[in-house]
């Protein structure tokens, strides 16, 4: 898009502020190579962090640095390989796969991408891999030191994974979204180390800042995915990071053919869809009722909403496609908290012919983007709250995946849960945040922000 096209589409002040922070961070990162030094960049959901990583790789290469880029998961590494290769056609991007992993075609078919064993990657200018794979190769001596290390999704990467790659370079840039789900473990007492400097489950950013408190932290004040209606709500997840939407209000539009059902359940769904079109949000609140994790009533309503959305011929237009076009099912996702919710919804949507609509838990939706999200509130129908359901990161992921609209389903009792006695949460020396308390606060402010969009039967 040329600058002329973008007038009236993007907010120039927001774009300029973001560009300035990103450039300063990258300059800071590549300005010195003589000492151990880190740079942290935190950003809200959909801020274009990957773009910043790609630009930082370019800047580091112009300084003739050899660069390694690490991510927590393989999928993140694949998409980075492609982005870097496309944006820097003059560079060869070297992917180091774990055994039984190989690049998908969309990345491997690029002429400047190679896939090699770690021992053959020495000397390469840009090396990409998962943190575990790069760290394993480094500690075995297969992969030698490089000049600069970039870690993407560094709030998802735990300290133990970061440990593996820490010695790979003297310069580190850690980029991530502080609102996402924290690292977790399946063991019975993951809090065993909480508050201690050796805690393997603190984030990569956490351990770096703990040991090196003078590390500069840059905050990207922009979200490109969310529009201004969504950003207002999303702000609750980032108490110490102010940001604004890149697109101007009204640029993103979702349109449905007008319809109103003549039975109560259908009317509720239609009102929710109309509200979502108009305001970008709808928070459907069912009456208080004790319910199972896989609440049949919510399954029925979510499936009904997805189906009705498809029936009403949804069309969208936005900054990248200014003419109306059909919204395909694959751009719609249902976000849940539990696997049994996912399994039952998947089977219901398949039986209704909506196999292309994505259904996933919040953990799996991290980093993904859709046009419309139908979300199952983490607190919906719970008899009591706990740390898992209160974790602000879970709600954050569910409410920040959409470009156009988000429809949230819960029960009236969800807000009452927050007014009741909070669960006891132990205190840990040296560990300031209280995830249970802060999760509660965040949930509360999200309910307040969604109040204008609340619908009841």
């Amino acid at each position: 898009m040329t600058p002329q096209d973008s007038s009236g589409v993007y907010d120039p002040a927001v774009m300029e502020a973001a560009r300035s922070v990103a450039n300063t961070a990258i300059q800071d990162f590549v300005s010195r190579s003589d000492s151990n030094r880190g740079v942290v960049v935190t950003a809200p959901a959909g801020s274009g962090k990957t773009g910043l990583v790609v630009n930082a790789v370019g800047a580091a290469r112009r300084q003739k640095f050899r660069v390694a880029v690490g991510t927590p998961t393989n999928e993140q590494a694949f998409s980075l390989v492609r982005r870097i290769a496309v944006d820097h056609p003059g560079e060869t991007v070297t992917f180091v796969p774990a055994s039984d992993i190989s690049l998908p075609t969309y990345a491997s078919q690029l002429s400047n991408v190679q896939q090699v064993k770690a021992s053959n990657a020495n000397g390469a200018g840009v090396i990409v891999g998962t943190l575990s794979k790069l760290g394993d190769a480094f500690s075995r001596g297969d992969l030698g030191e490089v000049d600069a290390l970039l870690v993407d999704e560094s709030f998802q990467a735990d300290s133990s994974r970061y440990y593996a790659v820490g010695g790979l370079a003297r310069l580190h840039m850690l980029v991530g979204d502080s609102g996402q789900l924290s690292p977790f473990s399946t063991i019975d007492d993951p809090d065993h180390w909480r508050g201690l400097p050796e805690d393997p489950l603190q984030t990569a950013v956490g351990v770096l800042l703990r040991n090196h408190p003078t590390t500069p932290v840059y905050k990207l004040p922009i979200t490109r995915r969310l529009d201004s209606r969504a950003a207002v709500v999303a702000q609750a997840f980032y108490p110490d990071l102010r940001f604004s939407a890149a697109v101007m209000p009204g640029v993103r539009q979702l349109r449905l053919s007008p319809a109103i059902s003549n039975e109560p359940r259908g009317r509720l769904i239609d009102r929710a869809l109309d509200g979502a079109c108009k305001n970008g949000w709808a928070h459907v609140e069912l009456p208080t009722a004790p319910s199972l994790t896989a609440d049949p009533e919510i399954i029925d309503l979510i499936a009904g909403t997805v189906d009705r959305l498809a029936q009403r011929g949804p069309k969208t237009r936005c900054e990248s496609k200014t003419t109306w076009s059909d919204l395909p099912g694959a751009r719609v996702a249902v976000g849940v908290s539990h696997n049994d919710q996912k399994d039952l919804l998947r089977s219901r949507l398949d039986s209704m012919g909506h196999s292309d609509v994505v259904v996933e838990t919040a953990n799996k939706l991290q980093g993904l983007e859709f046009d419309v999200i139908v979300a199952w509130h983490p607190l919906a129908g719970l008899p009591e709250v706990d740390e898992f359901h209160l974790e602000a990161g879970r709600l954050c992921v569910l409410l920040t995946r959409h470009r156009h609209a988000c429809i949230l389903f819960g029960r009236a009792s969800d807000r009452a849960l927050l007014d009741a006695i909070p669960p006891t949460s132990p205190a840990y020396l040296g560990f300031n945040p209280d995830p249970v308390y802060e999760g509660r606060e965040t949930h509360e402010s999200v309910f307040v922000a969604l109040e204008p969009h609340r619908l009841t039967r």
């Binding site: 440990y163 473990s185 399946t186 805690d199």
Partner: protein, 485 residues
């Protein structure tokens, strides 16, 4: 609580007794375990007021400290206990065998400590922490046996966190892995109450039997009544001994306190052995042996390390913590997989959570081939008739419980069956004919569980700059020794 446990709890409530949640015994119960019973003072958790111990029901021994708040008296009692414990705990390390898959020599046997409840394991941890780091020289030098006891206790406490380990078995936890009652997890930490609900005396219901048994404390934390009875005895003991802590003066004065603890310890002792003997009669699950071997390996490493005066840090390095986390995660995943693959009852929750599918094998296409990278390769299909609807998504990777350490299968197709169930077709992900397939017409189960050892990423031996402050933190002041408070 999973769906199976919820259903069994309801069933147990109706039946008025415990209901099994396992058809096998998933932990080793060694023939001559080191049974330990602890008692502390209500307000002094870091000292043992009384210890009952023995390796057979018939030979209960006991030691009491008199006043465990006095360091010399507490250590004298522990020293007597250490003389018995250390020798029995270490003896197994003298006999070794070569284990091929571990690539090392491992003790052929290992000691097993049994205690009433999780609180006793915590007591072991606290005593270990207090004793293991005592000074061996200077004015307050501690006897080496006491330090060794502390090291063994610290090891046991640390090892107790490994899922499925069997070196220290708290019986309440053992029971909760095999039985369901409607009691809460907190109520089940009373071995007496849990035991009574599982097997109430003839003619009474589990609920009432448990309510009755719950009155008695089984240690290490005493009931308020017990400590009130103890208090005048300790006061008189202190008055009569004056400042003396030597055995000749103190031993005869201990008799009233021993008489106080004897029935308490005896009561716990009976509960512990009744429970242990009843549970030992259940058939042991096949995978217990693999976990016992890994326990033996941990035990051998601990004994060898202490034998060469190796020390254990009170705080882990970042690297140790990272390795520990992966080890604990792996142990838990393998335990869940082994239990579910060993025992059809343990598999039920996973079937209900759509993590497993089971049914009768109705079709096997052993020689089916498909084109992969331009070559026709063998990819056998197995079709099950499942009595339930199958919500496991297509493409999901599952392992046959008949060979959970073998190659995986993928869900290839799911079709409804007129009978109300569904036909689930699975595709084996290898062409090797050495991989076994389930037999036609047999019952088969495929689940997310694999017992293949997980891949462990190596960690660099030296701490990276990101994980240490530029200037190291000063070491903490000693807790005990030259600088008493």
């Amino acid at each position: 609580m999973n769906q199976l446990d919820a259903a069994l709890a309801a069933r147990s409530f109706r039946a008025g007794r415990g209901v099994r949640s396992a058809s096998l015994r998933h932990r080793r119960l060694a023939p001559n375990p080191l049974a330990l019973v602890f008692w502390q003072l209500g307000g002094e958790p870091f000292s043992a007021a009384a210890i009952g111990y023995g390796h057979k029901r018939q030979n209960l021994r006991m030691v009491v400290a008199g006043d465990p708040r006095n360091r010399d008296l507490a250590f004298a009692a522990l020293l007597k206990f250490a003389g018995w414990f250390n020798q029995r705990f270490e003896v197994a390390a003298g006999y070794r065998e070569w284990i091929q898959e571990e690539g090392t020599e491992v003790s052929s046997n290992a000691p097993q400590v049994i205690v009433a409840n999780e609180a006793s394991v915590e007591m072991i941890g606290r005593l270990g922490r207090r004793l293991a780091y005592l000074p061996t020289d200077g004015p307050k030098a501690a006897p080496p046996e006491l330090i060794r006891l502390g090291q063994h206790f610290l090891f046991l406490h640390r090892h107790s966190r490994v899922a499925g380990q069997q070196l220290v078995v708290p019986l309440t936890d053992f029971l909760s892995q095999h039985w369901v009652t409607p009691q809460s997890a907190f109520e089940q930490q009373s071995l007496g109450a849990f035991n009574s609900y599982i097997a109430p005396p003839a003619g009474s219901s589990g609920f009432h039997a448990a309510a009755e048994s719950e009155r008695d404390s089984l240690g290490p934390v005493p009931s308020g009544d017990d400590d009130q009875k103890l208090e005048p005895l300790v006061d008189r003991f202190n008055l009569r001994r004056g400042q003396a802590t030597d055995a000749v003066t103190v031993t005869p004065l201990l008799i009233p306190i021993e008489n106080h603890y004897r029935p308490l310890i005896q009561h716990t002792w009976t509960q512990v052995w009744d429970c242990r003997d009843r549970e030992a009669s259940w058939l042991e699950a096949p995978s217990v042996e693999r976990r016992w071997q890994s326990d033996r390996k941990a035990y051998t490493q601990h004994i060898d390390w202490t034998a060469k005066n190796g020390r254990t840090r009170t705080r882990q390095t970042a690297r140790q913590a990272a390795v520990r986390l992966r080890t604990l995660e792996d142990a838990k995943a393998r335990l869940q997989a082994e239990e579910a693959c060993d025992d059809p009852v343990k598999m039920i929750p996973y079937i209900l959570q759509n993590k497993a599918v089971q049914g009768r094998v109705v079709r096997i296409e052993a020689d089916r081939r498909e084109r992969i990278n331009g070559r026709m390769l063998r990819r056998p299909l197995v079709t099950l008739l499942s009595p339930d609807a199958c919500l496991v998504p297509r493409g999901k990777e599952l392992w046959w419980t008949g060979s959970p350490d073998g190659r995986s299968y993928l869900i290839h197709d799911v079709q409804p069956d007129p009978s109300g169930g569904c036909l689930v077709t699975l595709k084996l992900t290898t062409g090797s004919t050495a991989t076994p397939l389930p037999a036609a017409k047999s019952q088969a189960c495929f689940s997310v569980h694999t017992t293949t050892k997980a891949w462990f990423a190596n960690l660099p031996p030296t701490e990276p700059w990101s994980h240490r402050p530029p200037v190291g933190e000063p070491p903490p002041a000693p807790i005990e020794g030259e600088n008493p408070l």
